[in-house]
Amino acid sequence: MQLGAGKPPVGIVYDSDFGNRIDDALALAVLYGLDGKNECRVVSVTVSKPNLRAAAATEVIGRFYAGAVSGNFGATGRNLPVGLATEGPAAEDTPILRGILDSKKYEHGVHDLNDTAEPHAVIRNAFTAQFDQNCVVVLAGPATNLVRAMNLPGTKDWIAKKVRYLVMSDFEMNSKIDPAAARQLFAEWPTAVFVSGSELGLAMPFPGASLDKEFAWSQAHPVVDAYRAAKQMPYDAGTWDVTAVLQAVRPGEKYFKLSEPGSAKVSDDGRAEFVYSSVGKHRQFTVDPEQKDRAMQAMVELASAKPVVRAPRRPRNAVATDPAKPPAEKKQP
């Protein structure tokens, strides 16, 4: 890179099995909160839960914060369409999805499978538009989509060049959902990897009470709706994915304890474990009791941040063919 060439904030590639646990949604809210502060940019969102409504729900959140996803992928890496896997377990509808979509309060453009993209294409394309070492991948679900992208020719080179590191939440559970993918990910991913275990999300629960306080500014907030629908209120949600986001975007804040280097591995019977080794490229991050309050404060503040209005990069009402607009009645020829 040339001296003096301004780099945009780090780009985030976010992949999750959105819709199963509420922390996927909270994590996305935190990401957009950080985006609003120019600490990162949400470049691509891909979903490994093969349910169209999961993709629609992520788009709802995206629009809520950042405006319509036109698909016009400019050099700053915004506006890729949402990627959706079409195979895999757990395709059923969930309370979270119902909570976001059934009220029809929020707009989105995902009405058809073709309004989404193949997730590995989106992830690969996202990498191609990042400055070197200016991208971080946050994995909040099984490694299915990431591994499929990694297997596309040339993508490993892109990853090595563009990605600083990968952060994976709850690696035990997410490995169980797709052990083969997890195995390949841990063995072949070219950069450093930070994983958190199941206990981290439980150790730092998201305060459900904040919905009435810090989120009160908003009349209609999709993440609030999702939270209320996910489980019987009041409850404090586990924050596996949220903590992963904090580790990904604000590593310097040292919210968490970092382990000694090692390698995450998946055994033949599908169990994931972390094995210490001096040549390992992976690290585990765990709760740091002294930073816990700070971290939780950040989580709440960022998740409840108001959307930042930016000057539109493309006028939203200009071209009638904006694919983000819901199409007119599907006509029969």
Binding site: Q2, L3, G4, A5, G6, K7, T76, F131, P315, A318
Partner: protein, 757 residues
Amino acid sequence: MYAIALALSALAVDPATYDRVVKPLLGKSCVPCHNERNASGSLNLAPFQSHTSLAQGRDEWERILPKIRSGEMPPKGMPRPALQDVQALLQYVKLEFDKADALVKPDPGRVTARRLNRNEYSNTVRDLLAVDFRADRDFPTDDSGHGFDNIADVLTMSPILMEKYIRGAERISARAIGADPLPKKPMEAEYHSKDKNIQRVDRSTIEASHRVEWDAEYLIRIGLPGERSADSPPVKMGFWMDGKLLHTMSVETKPSKLVYFNPYSEEEFRLVLPEGDHVFRAGFIDDPFVKTLPDKEAYSDKKNKFLNMIKFLGPFPAKVEKASRKKILTCEPAVAGCTEKILTGLARRAYRRPVNKAEVASLLRFVDVARKEGQNPEQSLQLAIQAMLVSPHFLFRIERDPTDRAKVHPVTEVELASRLSYFLWTSMPDDELLGLAEAGKLRAGLDAQVKRMLADPRSAAFAANFAGQWLETRNLDSVKPDPVKFAVWGPELREAMRSETNLFFEHILRENRPMAEFLDGPYTFLNERLAKHYGIEGVTGPDFRKVELTTNQRGGILSHASVLTVSSYPTRTSSVIRGKYILQNVLGVPPPPPPPDVPPLNEESVGTTASLRKQMEAHRSNPTCASCHNRMDTLGFGLENYDAIGRWRDVDGKFPIDVSGAFPNGKSFDTPAKMRELLKDDLPEFARCLTEKMLTFALGRGLEKYDRKTVESITSKLASQGYPFQSMVFEIAHSLPFQSRRGEASLPVQKQETAKK
């Protein structure tokens, strides 16, 4: 080696001085907008507050300095640093760069083996064999790079080009010797208005494209239907080929005594025509009668006499010996030893270097092959010439490296001869140049040779090719001004525009005038047509002559209709294109491309109810756009008094023209003349721009970092003399990259993907 230079230069930079002169200015005036968080224009200047940026960020500094120097940065509205602080920074940084450059090992760069481009091919064939072959009509277009079409790396080879070379070699050698028998029976090619293969240029002129298959004499017949009244005078009819008048004759228009149902007559004449694709015209010259006719009578054969057919009969043997035969056949090929003599001479000139016996022998083999097939001696010689014209030694200009490949070495005298001739003549070296080189005396007599070459008429190719590409006037062939708005546009006007600029350039070159005259010379070259276009009186006749300008409405290349036309759209002017043109071709600071997230123009419908200038204001209301468009549009507006084909105007439709503007340094102008004056303040930038362009053209490659020193030393030397233009040519001919070459080690540097930032 470079690392050592880097380290040395780093040592030479005194951090304290840097911190005193550069750091505070940047910190106060630049970094507030150009920092890591808020990188305006994708530029983060925080790293530039350290002296290490002089070495590491040299390229960026080179982009930053012109903006500071011109006052473009900081932009209007931001606090400006004191003038002496700016001067101190500029002087200091220049000093440091000069020091660093002095330490860099001189590197002349290297040019890849390059094939002759179309113009070079045509000219070389003309000079070698006296055959006129128009490669630009026949060969695929050459791709250009850095604005020129003679860049080695961009001149690729493809099978279709190879086909053309082979076919071209056959045609050229056959034409050169003319040994192939003409067909026994003459053939006929008719172009008739009923067949639609003929075009009406106007009421009295028709035009047809015809391929002449052989250099030969042809009988040309013109069909003239109709008749005028009994007292009509005869009219002069002309016959043109490719715009050149070949023949005139007088034609009767009154009714003939012969009886016809439909009045009709034919005229015929014989002409020697050259082989190739040509555009032929036949028409009446000075025919006031036809203008008096209403439309429906123009082609009525009872009311008018007009043209409707051109027919070619031939070929017939021409009675005059071809120039090419005279040139090549210095002896009789049937006589023993003659062919060998001819081929030795030709091969040396075709390959542009001495040839050895083996090479001649391999060409002679073709003579044998042809003889065995029953071809006569002249035809056999043709085959050998064909082979020569397809050889890589002819088609490519190859420079050898000595055994120690990676070394810098002077090119050989013979290679230098080719460099010179293709630079100044776009053609092969002549016998004098080649002879001197073979005798090792070229370098010693370099100045005398350059002088001779510039005085030679062949240097008109230099003007046409270099100026045509630098000033983009070649595009006159492809622009299409709207025929409704600009009805006066036509081939005559176009050629006149081209001639003005070529002659102007040639004059400044040949007379070694100061380069400032490009910007604001008080004279130009006109003929009657162009003078009328400019509204200048007192110039009659089709020939061009030097005209001293009495008003400052015109002056310099930015007032040439050619330049003004190629920088416009078909229907209107464009301040953006013209502004970019000035920045790119005059000041050498091409604007960067628009940033990737440029929003479209303001949503409000920008209609045609406002002047162009008003519409363009929207560019500058958005700060993201304004940073470049302020400069660009202002310069373009400065030329708004000239319409899209270069005529002077004071109004545009119903809006009065407003050309006023200001340069970033605050100086303002309100006429094009005033703007030209102010541009002369940037004479050093102009000289550098022109030097870089001419060096690119001369070398056939883009310039690299290591060429900076060469450019710097040429411009500073010329500065002390007032920037005489012809002297630049001499300087370039003596320069390191022109005289020497870096070899290439056996393992090439891997062609890397553009390093992603």
